[in-house]
Symmetry: C2
Subunit: 455 residues, 2 copies
């Protein structure tokens, strides 16, 4: 009967300490989202495969976890369908549901299903796990949390501005110094138009991104190797060597893109976002970065990414403006803009930089040592009072050896321990031991509560 | 391409208002659990079928959602296994994982897997969804949250006492008047022993429970119909007519059970729990109820349930003491005691009694109406200040018609709206409209913040 238990590969248990840290991260993001008027929704872990399939490309379809139909799932399957041994085709006959792969498609499905109850613009956030049958590797899991906020039903660039403020506020609260990178899909389209190489825009941004590492000459060589002609490469020179303030960069780009209506629209949008952010004031720097080119096919306007300054780590937050979120579900013309915080990476950054506030990860603050029945009877009303005053308090349930009880306090990093023996009971007091400094003092119950609450 | 989207039957989307209410419920429970030193853990949605199967009886096995193996899941299945068309057997060949069915088995698995890192007693809580392929019906879902706290590795009855305090504190914070019902499996065993009808204990408790409705005579008739002889029924009389205070009831039971060692142990345990609770003081009533007989096969000591007093609803919280939680995973001898709050039912009770605190379900507190570019430029720094002071604030992103913007405020139940036109800009003020009373006043930004924060 006994079996050595395990969990599916790519999944994780979260221990109390990890949970406290994750709660700190999610609670911080949640409260900032709320501060900006975003409302939380949740959708079911399982969606119909009709909702999920075909939304993430062929590769994505393969990575969906499919849920076997309940009951006699074979009853409607014909013999030849079985004997075909076509795993993919059979799956569509024996599974109707799958686990959600991201939060965007369920959100689009939500908006369409509840369109009659929604007042647009709809500002929603959602913090839930998603599942992908990716090959597990360091930092990549089969179950992980996404942490998205989107506004749909408004074309206003104020939404972009507010999302940047949200990013700035969240990382300021975390104490993580970041650089926000911003670009605009329309600027990239404009560049491609101007140099007559619409299909090469990804190659171009990748090449430009190498400037610091390989130098201008090599960048130009690389562009040439991708089939760009001399004229195109010449036109790109001001963009490759782009530097200075955001305003200076925008002026150069505007000049290069003077022939492209779309490009100029991108410049104008970016200028509005950056100018407006100046009037509200950000703590962190935001820079225009033309090499930023995330998810080209999905995004249609502003795009942004966040990088931590004090520890090497990929993008820890990203997002952008997209069109037609809900078209696939029969509700066209709804534009939106969103961001997604990378919870796992932020978790690692805060660990590396040791930025978790002590209070956020302290569980129990005070442990009463259990010396026996009489002492417990004396302690219980004090324990109750401490809790009433908001102090997270435990009394060790068994009168175990002192050593075991102190180990318990240490294992749970409990900062204060209360000791009560004959002496204390006689004087109506409690000895409070500060586990960090080792100092002890004998206090009345009221003094003890004041002492702990003053921290 | 367009499809009318839906969600799997028995699952739910949670709207912003529902989420706010649920967060209020979970946050309240979470903070009380923490106050008593319980630590949160989370386990993966998917467990291996090895972990899940055989833990919930044959019926439970059928209700597990199984997840199809990724990739070519048929490759290792022989032809005859396919042609057998045995759904259950084939499932075990093409599925290795399932969705968790409750939080108890994953917790047991967690304890065994992490035994080396755990300091006992381990006080954990866990708030996560579980999935069951039950036939959906009113109030029964295929995805629902459980909200469990357990202490394992301690036999002390102080744990039972603290769980009762937790229940009392949680419902006091909710403002729901409840009665806590307590019983003890050992008392029920004792009764069965004394009357020589060990297999009839469920029939007996069911019959006794009908006393108020059908009267003593009919209860005795029913007992007789279940095969109890006259002697047994005679011995049961004091127990059927049990009334008075908990102490009075215990005295009667103690006398009836004087021949049963187990029964007397149950009386003693119950007396300790109730006496200790008297010294700490509960807000709600706790009563010994011998007709309480939940999950007999699972529980071994104290059992308890909670009923709301002011609205008819089944048990809204329950739990008890059990032995050998982890034996099935090869770690015998670990006793525990736990409770589980019924989140869906509590949600309904708070709705019925209209007990959600306004503040907990208010999202955005202040909306700035958007009258155009110039006005927006004037408003943005004020919006930023309001947020800095903690006020959840929005500015409508588009300069839409006033009517649309006011509908938005109403739909989101935003209590305050800020209006800024020529006049306000000239005077450096903002007109604040109280959406409940309809009154308006013209205020400086600082006055506006003070006004809203004073509520």
């Amino acid at each position: 009967m006994a079996q050595k238990p395990s969990i599916p590969k790519g999944t994780r248990d979260f221990s109390p300490v990890e949970m406290a840290k994750r709660n700190y991260i999610f609670d911080t993001i949640r409260s900032v989202y709320a501060l900006y008027g975003f409302q939380q929704i949740e959708t079911p872990a399982m969606e119909t495969l009709d909702t999920l399939l075909g939304k993430y490309g062929e590769e994505g379809d393969k990575l969906l976890f499919k849920v076997l139909n309940s009951g006699d799932y074979l009853s409607k399957v014909a013999d030849d369908e079985l004997n075909d041994r076509n795993s993919l085709r059979l799956a569509s006959r024996i599974c109707e549901k799958g686990l959600r792969y991201d939060l965007t498609v369920p959100f689009a499905r939500y908006v369409v299903m509840h369109r009659d109850q929604l007042q647009l613009p709809f500002k929603r956030y959602q913090i839930q796990p998603v599942w992908r049958a990716d090959r597990p590797q360091k930092g990549r899991y089969r179950e992980f949390f996404q942490c998205d906020a989107d506004v749909v039903g408004s074309d206003s660039l104020l939404n972009e501005v507010e999302l940047m403020q949200i990013v700035d506020t969240v990382f300021t609260r975390f104490g993580v110094r970041v650089r926000i990178l911003i670009n605009n899909r329309k600027i990239l389209t404009g560049i491609a138009e101007v140099i007559g190489a619409a299909d090469k825009i990804v190659d171009i941004t990748v090449a430009i991104d190498k400037l610091d590492k390989i130098g201008l000459e090599n960048v130009n060589e690389e562009l040439k190797s991708h089939g760009l002609n001399k004229d195109a490469i010449d036109k790109l020179q001001p963009i490759i060597s782009l530097s200075g303030t955001n305003d200076e960069k925008l002026a150069v780009i505007k000049d290069v893109l003077k022939e492209s209506e779309t490009g100029l629209k991108g410049v104008e949008e970016t200028k509005f976002i950056l100018d407006t952010l100046k009037t509200v004031g950000l703590t962190n720097e935001i820079s225009l970065d033309l090499t930023l080119a995330r998810g080209l096919n999905y995004y249609t306007g502003a795009i942004f990414e966040v990088k931590a300054l004090d520890t090497p780590m990929g993008s820890i937050t990203g997002g952008g403006r997209y069109d037609n979120l809900t078209g696939i579900f029969g509700m066209p013309g709804l534009s939106g803009v969103g961001i997604s915080f990378g919870a796992d990476r932020i978790f690692d950054v805060l660990n590396t930089l040791d930025l978790y506030p002590k209070d956020a990860i302290t569980g129990t603050q005070l442990l009463f040592i259990n010396f026996g029945e009489k002492e417990t009877e004396y302690c219980l009303p004090v324990v109750a009072k401490a809790r009433q005053s908001g102090i997270r308090t435990e009394i060790f349930p068994d009168s175990s050896k002192m050593k075991k009880q102190m180990s318990y306090a240490n294992a749970k990093s409990i900062p204060y321990v209360a000791l009560v023996g004959e002496n204390e009971m006689k004087e109506g007091k409690i000895t409070l031991k500060d586990m960090t400094t080792g100092t002890q003092q004998m206090l009345t119950p009221e003094e003890l509560i004041t002492e702990i609450n003053k921290l």
